[in-house]
Amino acid sequence: MNLAVDSPWLLWGLLLNGLPLLNQGMRLHDQPWLTLLPVDRLSQALSLLLKLVAMLVITSLILGLAGLHRREQSRERIGKGAHIVLLLDRSNSMDDSFAGRTPEGREESKSSAARRLLTEFIQHRQTDRIGVAAYSTAPLFVMPLTENKIAVEAAIAATATPALAYTHVAKGLGMALSFFQDQPLTGSRSIVLVSDGAAAIDKDDELKLRAWFQQHQVRLYWLFLRTANSPGIYDVAQDSRDDNAQAMPERYLHQFFSSLKTPYQAYEAESPDALKKAIADINELENQPLHYVERLPRQDLSNACYVLATVCLGLLLAAKFLEVKKC
């Protein structure tokens, strides 16, 4: 049942229950000799009942005062959804528009478009557990995997503050993958990487990431916010001398992701609309059966106590009118 009270010391008041046992609580009439009266089972039962009702009034008032409640409970359920870690790029360039300049007038920066659309996205994902990580030169742990949508929204809203430094995607991915450690393997797990650039990943990191993606069974979605006239992820080098990870990090990062043994999907978005489509697509894909824990908030029972007390009081008052009156 998980019942609890806020102020346990008030429970000493339950001793007041002794009062109705000591005292009839009704007008007594003198009788010359009680032994003269025959034993009346009904009267005895009624007298006991009235005492019990009075004790019920005292008990429920005390429990109400002490703040009886049912503790927050969790219930396991099966629904559709996923464990999603949003990995957000906080490098300086995210604050530019899709045209690659400081946003003017109605223009929207890449980060604000991502912020707006991701907020919409999480509002549609009621049963998901969502976590947030960010990265620039170093990875930032922002919000653990949680059902609490308000907290996730607060984390996404915080990207409205100015961005940081450069892009170190390998560390960011490592941080995002660490969210799945010690988490039950249920439903689909995915990382949504939102970035506007890429960086070369060295061989050591590549090995580790490859192993971790497989170990934790994590899918990867890469929302690549492509700036106009910048290299895309599907570009092919014009000159073979440029065909390396330093010169074309986007292409090579995409190749690395494609070679992972877990599902991977890339979206190249060159405008807020394209980003919207990509997010809608992820929304469709991430609907596998998921064991999730539904939290039932703390339930206040003091009002029920007060209602019970009032009903019992009504009964006692009714009984009062039935008392024998000797005027």
Partner: protein, 331 residues
Amino acid sequence: MIIYPVLRDYRSIFLLVTLLAMLGLFIKPVSQQYAPQYNFTFVVDITRSMNAADYKIADQAVSRLEFVKHQLRALLHHLPCSTKIGLAVFTERRSSLLFEPVEICTSYTELDTAISKLDWRMAWAADSNIAKGLFNTLAMLQKSHSTVVFITDGQEAPPVNPSYLPDFAAMKGKAKGLIVGTGGLQAVPIPKFDAQGNVSGFYQQDDVPHRSSFGQSNLDPSQIEGYDARNAPFGSKAVVGNEHLSALQESYLTQLAHQAGLNYTRLTDLEPLQQALQSPEFSTQQLAPVDVRGYFAAVALLMFCCIYLPPLSSVWHWFRLKKTKDNVYVD
């Protein structure tokens, strides 16, 4: 008339009053009262000097950052439920907001986990200029209604040229907040880490710059040895100092707090920190529903118990009855 004789019994009156009190309870269960509300954004310094271990938790030496995390997590239990808390980290010349303030009670687990995951390795750059960091943080959070709580040890690296301090004049009076000084007053070595994150000794005197060599020198050129206006504005002599050791720079932080119009407190224990945070100037009075059912219920309980208290008259009655009985036996 049936009512009248019933009312002649005092118990009926008490019972009616009890019922009336319960009626009141259901009519007005809550009353709107002004209650202080707090909204804090904790900005935690995660620069290297915060790794210096000069605090203790249960007789174990812990780093300043560990201690700050420990105290912030404990604080979550001690601030009122409706308090909103946001988190940011400071390094270099500015801070990065991790998340906007969320309510403690509804997001307790999330806040607790996020604080416990704060790490010096989150730093995106390795130097530390606290005056500029504070200035940029105040500017960044000026539009939010959050109180900035800047938690730092005041150790700057490289040392700052005093001629290039930000001007807090524009900020003064607009921002409210608290600077929390962490660390001991005794200088202690700063641990050094290798690429795997293991401690590999401490910073030595040769590892760090001991004076600012940025911009123009604030000293009189004739006093500087080996001065050259273009090539050596700070002179040619190598300066050695104690910048590889770190202590709480309290005078510097109080001066900053004074310039920016903030409060200052030193992090020692939970209670002083909590008091400094729950100062009236950081609270906004907001109308909030307060549960007043308890008052009605208490009155009802009191009245109801009176019915069952053995009244004086009945005690006397009982005695008299006994006496009469005794008389009967005598007869």
